[in-house]
Symmetry: C3
Subunit: 349 residues, 3 copies
């Protein structure tokens, strides 16, 4: 049996398989500093212990997307090393705050399998749960990926496609946010005066700024998350591949878009859930990322007077400013669009 | 009212305006590690808790320029988003040590306004004060920037040009340095044997080494400081602009020059004040920075036996070694010069 | 006497000289986060406080190669500023665990001198010892470098070539590893099921993955270690030199190879000793590094039931996958080989 990990192929997965992923990871203020250096994020709760304490946190929590990337990164060697494409996410909920010093681990369960008609590949659905060192769940999400078969002739496992939610409901949000004191929320320090009720459904916001991505940056980010997907790091091989260059981790795009969205959504301080996301086109080093958002819903949370939730659709583009909210070109996406993300963010009332 | 911040134009400023800036920022050992990785700084007090404790600090303080950049970064969205040029600094004093875990905030006051004769722009003078989570002032400085008018026809505010000091006086220095034990200062560990009295006025020091700058580095640095000035990050837009490329944050140059100056000024361990600074020419990725310094003054500090101060003029160049101390070419600066900085640094007696 | 450090030339060294190096350095979780971002290392003991505690550590130790690089970096200004070539390492032992918050210092002793027959250069052998803030030795190694003479006519010091061990013995290993509970070693979390007895002498392992190196990355790494060797940072000068470009610090290659080796050696969690290493060819930005390893020995440690040691030869290449274990081309190294490293790593029994 080989010492190195060749990754699972489609026929290696069985419905109900439980995959305990390596490597547990203690997240520190060092990781938080790198996250700031990589994205320039400016949300006050995650930037300032003093701000966080003033509203009721014990200290600044770790950025929710840093938690997502770390939990996600662990699944790559066991789930997507032989993946052709990352097809989607659903039902992603943040369940407990993560603080510097917490250790994150991930376990996945195979919840769906469907061979493709070409018999060369199949779709694997996994539900992954990130936990902390106390065993508390901090993140729960489903993703599905297209995985190659080792052997086209191999028998396919029985087909099972799980039912997945299109979006989380307001009563499923907010577990990762302790009760806060909205009166102590200082809008001068947070960077914007708008609270929950200042947003309206249908409103579009151009986040104005653009950020150019360098090879060193996306590789440092992706290694920070201990994500080992080969396409991000190996110019020798990728130079001979489909794009002729390294592909940037999709999560890097999500973090850039979220950071740009501070300009317009400064008080939408925590991602409570990701309803779904689609990486519409690849991003490469040298491209400049822009973003705009549309407010899909403005909701109170059952039983909470402190925070509500905005359902936000954020579109990221490459080399294309977003003042005119680019989205579609006919039935297809505008060719500049790279990300179409649907998420819930908490915001003080 | 738009959700995004368009930045203030010249006619939006009023004398006496008080600007409370977002985002408060807790500075950590993670930031300090990144600062070391970005500049290679080697000053012993900021590198070693053991060294710092031996001379009387509770632990290593945060590098003074990291404090400066963080305090400065906060002012950008409110002061200089529509700036044409950063014209100068004056009267910059470091007032209290900053330790990992401290949270920095910045408030600015508009202390001067002067419309330019072309009526398209005006000069805004702001005094910015950085404070920690206890409300103690840690940094105080004035800068002035040329800001565009939104509307050329707009009435100009009454002209007021503040009186600014050419330099701080020795009795204004040292508040950010606790009393230290100069006998415990180990010159083998600090990297150089020269103390205050070993320097003479007029002495020039070539710092010898050169450091090439990469796009990923200056962008990571500038984002670490949460400085959002657009010209540093957006190749798509800057590629169509005046220089055809991203402009590097001037503070990045100051930090590189300061780090290079360790070779010759290893015991000048803390910047006590910046008398003034001029970014003579822009720096771009791919350029190599060199630096040399001249000692302008060697001063004891009233009431202190432990440390004195060197007034230092540091000149940084690009793609030009400094063995012959380049400065002027006729009445102008040598075309290789990019920075002319005048500051006070503390050094053990 | 000049204020700047010109570095020692060959004739400046005397047998028995004791060199106390600047700058002591407190290693933090910030440094550990950067180390992860730069190399993507995934060893569980160094990644997770929870994993480390479960087996008996008080918390995650600092990666042994990060310790090596920091201890090594300090020696550069005093030993190798005028070096022509770094010729070799021997007898490198890790002697005590290093935890975040520990401060590292280095002292070297000149243990050998040998002028070359051309009288232009000589070989200097130094034994360097890294210590922590308690005065405990944490690392001990010998390296030898070829150093230029300032003056060819200068008298050579008496020749003395020290006896150096070809390899450390098993009874010299393990001091940096506390007694652990091998039963608590969770092979699902560590990423591989193979323990000491699963490896056999002569076995070769292709580590499969490749990692492309960027200028920003190797410079950030080398500055993080406060290594000031000029060839790594200065494109202006190096552009006119032998290679036309910046040379990457050899230790950066070692760390990349070690990180790649996780795929096949995931439980070989700690480098106990480096028997020797040769930087066979230079690495430049843009190259992609691959690696493979051969098991040279599988040893129990006298008096320890918890861990044993693998003696590993790791070969790194550039732009050349290692599925066929490239090593020699005739009597010479394969032209793709850049590193030939011989070390001992601890692994649970």
């Amino acid at each position: 049996m080989p010492k190195t990990n060749p990754g699972r192929f489609f026929e290696d997965f069985r419905l109900g398989d439980r995959l305990v992923h390596a490597t547990p990871r203690t997240v520190t203020t060092g990781d938080a500093a790198l996250y700031t250096a990589l994205y320039g994020t400016r949300f006050a709760v995650q930037s300032s212990d003093a701000f966080a304490k003033a509203i009721g946190y014990p200290r600044s929590p770790v950025d929710d997307l840093l938690v997502f990337h770390v939990v996600f990164g662990k699944t790559v060697p066991d789930v997507s090393l032989n993946a052709v494409a990352n097809l989607g996410y659903a039902g992603c909920r943040f369940l407990a705050p993560v603080y510097p010093g917490d250790t994150l681990s991930t376990v996945s369960e195979v919840i769906g399998l469907k061979e493709n008609s070409n018999r060369k590949t199949g779709v694997v659905y996994v539900r992954s749960v990130g936990t902390n060192q106390h065993g508390d769940d901090v993140l729960d999400y489903v993703r599905w990926v297209m995985v190659r078969k080792r052997d086209e002739a191999a028998a396919a496992p029985p087909e099972h496609v799980p039912a997945l939610p299109k979006a989380l409901e307001p009563d499923q949000l907010g577990d990762a946010c302790p009760l806060i004191e909205p009166d102590e929320w200082d809008t001068a320090l947070s960077g914007q005066r708008h609270r929950l009720s200042d947003y309206v459904v249908g409103e579009s916001i151009d986040h104005v700024d653009g950020m150019t991505v360098e090879e060193a940056e996306h590789m440092m980010a992706t290694r920070l998350y201990q994500n080992t997907a080969k396409v991000h790091f190996n110019q020798f091989t990728e130079g001979q591949g489909r794009f002729g260059r390294r592909l940037i981790y999709g999560g890097h795009v999500i973090s850039i878009a979220r950071s740009l969205s501070f300009n317009g959504l400064a008080n939408a301080f925590q991602i409570a859930a990701i309803n779904g996301g689609r990486h519409v086109a690849p991003l490469f080093a040298g491209n400049t990322v822009f973003a705009w958002s549309q407010i899909l819903a403005v909701e109170e949370l059952p039983g909470r007077d402190d925070v509500g939730a905005l359902r936000i659709r954020t579109i990221a583009t490459k080399d294309r400013p977003c003042a005119d909210y680019p989205l579609k070109a006919g039935d297809d996406y505008d060719p500049a669009v790279i990300l179409d993300l649907d998420y819930w963010a908490l915001i003080p009332r």
